[in-house]
Each structure stands twice: as C-alpha cells, then as structure tokens.
Amino acid sequence: MTDKILASLRALHLISEEQAAGIATYEREKPFSLYYELRTLLSLGVTLLSTGLGLLIYQNIDTLGHGVIVGLIALVSAAGFGYAYRKRQPFTWQQNPNPSTGADYALLLGCLTLLTLLGYLQYQYNLFGTRYGLLVLLPTVVFFVCAYRFDHRGVLSMAITGLAAWVGVSIAPLSAFTQNDFAVPHLGAVALVLGLGLAAVGLVSEYQDRKKHFGYTYLLLGSNVALLAACTALLSGPYDQGFMPPVLAALLIIGLSAALVWYARRTHSYVFVLLGALYGYVAVTYLMFQVVELIPGLEGLLFFYFPLSTVGVVLLLLNLKKIVASHDEKGL
C-alpha cells in the first residue's frame, strides 16, 4: 500500500524521488511500536496490584488496625497534593499554557484519596457525627480551590458534583421536616435552580474571560442537571405530583434545548447540539401525546408522527455540520 501511495504522490510531483525512496525505506525498516501495548499492560498491572493489596488489607484489618490504614491513605493523598503543589504553575485566569500530565494525575489521585479518607473517617470514627453537610462541603471547597489554582477540569467536575450533593443533602432533611413529605417534590426545583445557576456561571466565565475553558464543564453539567430535573417533572405521574405542571416543564425543556442549540452554534460544539436535540425531542413527543389525548380523533396522527419525526432528526444530524457551522478541527 505504501508503494501505491508513493507512486501516486510521485505522479503528481508532490514529493521528490529521494524523499519517496527515503519514505519507502523508513516504512520497510521502522521498528514495530509496542507503546500502547506496554502502557496497557502496565496500567493493568497497577489495577491488579491495587485490587489485590486492597483485598489483602481488608482481610487482615484485625491485625493491621484502622490507624495504619488511615495513615496510609492520608500519606497517599498528601503525596498527591504535595507533588501537584511542587509542580504548580503561576495562577492565571487563562488556560495553563504548559500543563504537566504527571502533576494532573497526582492531583486527581490526591483528591480521590481525600474522598476515601473522609469517608473512612466518618464510617469508622464518626468524625462529623450527623453533620453530613459539612462532610460533603469540606471536599467540595477543597476541590474548587484546587481546580482553580491548578487549572484542572476533572477536579472541577468533581467539585461541581460535590456541590450538587451538598445542596441535595442540606435541602432534603429540611423539606422532610417542613412538609412531612418524604418524596421531596421541591428537590427537583432546587436541582433546576442549581443547574441553571451552574450554566449561568459557565456563561459568565466565558464572557468575563475568567477561566474560559471551564465554561464547557459548567454548562455541560449544569444544563444536564436542569434538563433532567425538568424531565422528572415531565414524567411524574398523576399521583406523585412534580414541582411544576408537566406542560410547563415541557415548554421549559424546549426553551432550554433551543438555548443549548443556540450556544452550540456559537461555539461550534457538537455535544450541546446533540443534547438539545435529544431533550427537545422528548419534550415535543410529550406535548404531542398531550395534544392527541386532548383532542379525540387524532390518534392516527401518532402513526405518522414517529416516522416523520425520526426522519426529521436524521436530517438534522446529517446537516449538523452546516448547523454547527463547520469547525471540524475543534472536535467536541
């Protein structure tokens, strides 16, 4: 195949004869790269070893004692944070120009083991008692600080997840007391507000040029939280009432989806246009069923709705490049 390609390149005078000969020699004599294979084996080995060690510690916990394990985890966490701190770059509001892969992974390791450590302390020594909010809030704050200081998007999404958990934890008991209702209908409303707030933070960070590249994470997580919350209201049955009327939720979803598509057009992002299409489709289908239920004699419409609407979605996707306005190098 190499020969064929080189011949056709030569035929168009795109490369010189020496270059073609050189490339042919290179292709014939280049060594066989085992880069990915060796790396996969190495990470497989690390996974096996850590699983095996974890099992061994778990089985011998009586002889080892909890203090040793807490100490070990704390040591690993401290080592991760320490390495990331030693390799730190000066703080900017822009994307870090020369990131270090090792430091990024070390920070991730430190954050994950910090979570394990706190969970272990709470489980074994009941460190935080019943103040669960504090238990969740503490790592969240640490993660937010780390994400901004060390410019790490993975840690940022962990921090946002922690924030959502904190909001959930601190809201849920409250509503259980005030409304005597354990289904907590307004948890959905809180999630909707939280999601919209996160999306707003993302937009602001883009417009103000404060960690512009964090905007994607904020918007992705925020819009998903908000849309999922609206979807739960949409799909709640007649017996367990949602926090808002389903039709309103459907309209809200359509509005949010339109906003996502608008944003995707602006930033040439495929993910957001897909999210918008997916959620919008669910909402439109729901409205369609409502209309059919309200007006008798329209049941036949559904037979044509499904084929036509799916064809519509396919056409939309086929022309996605035009909608997203062609920025194919940008990927996501």
């Binding site: 168009l12 490369i15 004869e17 270059q19 060796l38 080995g45 096996l48 499904f306 396919v314």
Partner: protein, 407 residues
C-alpha cells in the same frame, strides 16, 4: 451500477491523506507538502463525529421501524377482503420494507456521500434483516408445516436454512464491505460447519478439530484476499474476519471450552475429563504463545492482540480447574509481575531492539530521513522540471502480504 457501493477512489484518497498526515508528524514530509497532498487527494465522504454517528444510527433504526410499522399496517389492512393468509402478507411486507430500505440506502450513498456514517450502517443492517425475514417466511410458506430448528439440526438439514442466508450476507459484504457483515458471514459459515458435524457421532467427536480446520481455512481465504488489488476497499472487513478466525481457532482448541461444550452436548450435569486431554493442554498453552511470537516477528498487531487475550484466557482456564493461590494473592503477584515485565520492556526497548520499540509509532525520533536535504533536492528537481516518463514505483500493486500493522 458498479459492483462496489462506495467510491473506491475516495477511500484511497482518504488513506493517502491519513498517511501524509502521519508522515508529516514523523517529519518525512514538510507541512506544506502534507497540505498540498490534502488538496490533491480530496475526499467528499460525510464522516461525522463518533457521537453523531451513534445518534444517526439509532435514529435511522427508529425511523426504519416506524416507517415499516406503517407499511405493515397497510399490508395487513389493505387486502383484508382477499383470500391471502397472514403469512403471505408478512412475506409481502418484509419484501416491501427490504426493497425500500436498499433503494434508500443506494440513493443516500450516492447523493449524500455517506461512508459508514451511521445512516448507511443502520439502513444496511435493517435491509438485510428484512431480507433474512423474507427468506424465513418464504421457507415457512414453502414447507407445508414449519419444523422446529432443533429437529432439523438432528436430521442434519439445518445447513439448508443457513446456506442461503450466508450467500445473502456474503453478497452484501462484497458490495458494502461492512465489517459487521464480514463477522456475520464468518459465524454463519462456522454454524454451517457445526450443523454438518453435529448429527453424526464421529462428527461430534471431531468437532474441535473440524472447527479449528474451518477457522484455519477461513484465515487462508482472507489472507489470499489481501493480495487482491482492491484489498483497501475490504480492509476493515478482512481484518475483522482475521481476528475472529484467530480467536475461534484458539477457542476451538481451548481445554476449558472443549471440556464444557463436551459436557453440554452429552447432557452431563458436571463436566468430566475429555479424551485427548494432553493434546488440548498443548493447544491451550501453545496457540497463544505462537500468536505472540508471530505477532512480534511479523509486526502484526492482529496476532499480537489476539495472542495477549488468548494468553489471559489460558491463565483463566488453568485457574478454573486448579486453584493454586487465593485470589487476592494471585491478583497482587500477577499485578506485580505485570508491572515489572512491562516496566523492564519499556526500558529495554527504548532504543529500538530486534525491530521492536517502546516509542510511540511514528515519533519523529524514529525518522531516518534528513528532511532539509531532501526538501532542497525537491526544490531543485522542481525548478529543473525533469520529466520522468518511465517512473514505476512497485507497479502500483499492493504487495503487503498481510497486515503490516499500519494504524
């Protein structure tokens, strides 16, 4: 209408672009040269992002099933006054849907330049599904009373069912060169071999050897296909079948598989020791090592990866019957051994040795070409405009002789 559905020149251009990008990354071409290659070998295939592909595939499947639901509705309602039985209606509906899907597929490929973009995959599989359903409902009409496949298997005539399906899928694979179709036809072929062997006692006894032989034969056939001039069109399809043939060759000789399938076929509650057991021990150990050796020797990633997976399955086979270590110790020791071996190999192969390297493929360090001098000579050659009438580089045939591990 040509024999191949997709534009062969476009596929070649795509490969040229990819290769030029790779060479430019290695430093064998200048960025300007890579750019002019990109312009000289254009592709107009519609190849969206992977997410979009998946979404297109799913929604096309929904659309096809929605439309065919309407078609089936009309077929079953339309001629309700007629004397046709529901089987005839089913046959008619399947035929209509199948023909419609294929017509749509062909139109979309030519008009929208689809090339494995999700839509064409979905239409192809749906169309083939309807074609297969047409075949089956035709059988149920043609035969007076539809017989259970298990009885057919016992009488050794199930292959009469599978053969037309195989022919159908192979024809589609020749036209569309789809890897999934390659895999399906390979499994249909294996199924035919099994249904031919199973009914007789001798065939049952020789089943592992028969399957190994069939896999080796299939590998030889696709290996022979790689020498065709239009191999590039079928490359992914051929590679898929190769992987499957190697994997099934190993599995057919694996001790665990043979022993458990033997118990299953004889209806035993517990698997017992099989005859020729030492031979199957040998297969279980030797085939992965052979694959690994061949993979490293011939720089063939297909052999290498299949060999690694087969080795893992061989270890599993061993542990399945003999418990040597408690699992946590096995995990710990195995992990430690893997880390040591991989780490040592990474260090040992850092300058390339024995034709192997731990560097990433096409890293600039591996380039043996001094680009500057070459570019200078290229400039000189261009200014002189020396015509080269008899320039024949390798005659333009693909003399690869197998996958060369070019990814």
């Amino acid at each position: 209408m040509t024999r191949k559905a997709y534009n062969e020149q476009g596929i070649f251009n795509r490969l040229v672009q990819d290769t030029a990008r790779r060479w430019a990354k290695t430093g064998l071409l200048t960025p300007e040269q890579a750019e002019s290659v990109r312009q000289a070998f254009p592709t107009d295939f519609y190849e969206p992002h992977l997410f979009v592909k998946v979404a297109l595939f799913l929604f096309t499947c929904f659309a096809v099933s929605g439309v065919s639901g309407v078609v089936f509705l009309f077929v079953s309602q339309g001629a309700s006054g007629g004397s046709h039985s529901w089987e005839w209606r089913l046959l008619l509906g399947c035929m209509l849907c199948g023909v419609g899907t294929f017509v749509l597929l062909e139109t979309l490929i030519t008009s929208n330049h689809l090339y494995r973009s999700g839509v064409d995959n979905a239409l192809l599989y749906c169309g083939l599904g309807y074609a297969g359903a047409t075949l089956l409902s035709f059988y149920s009409l043609a035969l007076p009373n539809f017989v259970d496949p298990e009885i057919l298997l016992g009488r050794g005539v199930l292959w009469l069912y599978l053969l037309p399906l195989l022919v159908l899928v192979v024809l589609a694979a020749i036209r569309y060169a789809d890897p999934v179709l390659g895999a399906v036809s390979f499994f249909l072929y294996l199924g035919i071999v099994v249904t031919l062997l199973l009914p007789s006692a001798l065939g049952k006894a020789l089943l592992p050897f028969g399957l190994m032989l069939a896999c080796a034969l299939a590998y030889q056939v696709v290996q022979w296909l790689t020498r065709r001039p239009d191999y590039l069109y079928y490359r992914t399809c051929v590679r898929t079948v190769k992987v499957l043939a190697l994997a099934c060759f190993y599995l057919a000789g694996n001790y665990l598989v043979v022993r458990e399938v033997n118990a299953l076929l004889l209806g035993l509650p517990n698997s017992v020791q099989i005859s020729f057991a030492p031979l199957f021990y040998l297969f279980t150990v030797a085939i992965p090592l052979l694959y690994l050796y061949l993979g490293l020797r011939r720089a063939d990633r297909i052999f290498l990866h299949t060999g690694l997976l087969a080795l893992a399955f061989s270890l599993f086979t061993y542990r399945f019957y003999r418990s040597v270590l408690p699992p946590e110790w096995a995990l710990t020791l195995g992990g430690a051994v893997l880390i040591v071996v991989a780490g040592w190999a990474m260090r040992y192969l850092r300058p390339a040795r024995h034709g192997l390297t731990a560097e990433p493929a096409d890293s600039p360090g591996l380039s043996i070409l001094n680009l500057e001098s070459v570019v200078m000579s290229h400039v000189a050659a261009n200014t002189m405009q020396a015509p080269e009438p008899g320039f024949q580089f390798g005659g333009g045939s693909s003399g690869g002789g197998g996958a060369e591990g070019k990814y």
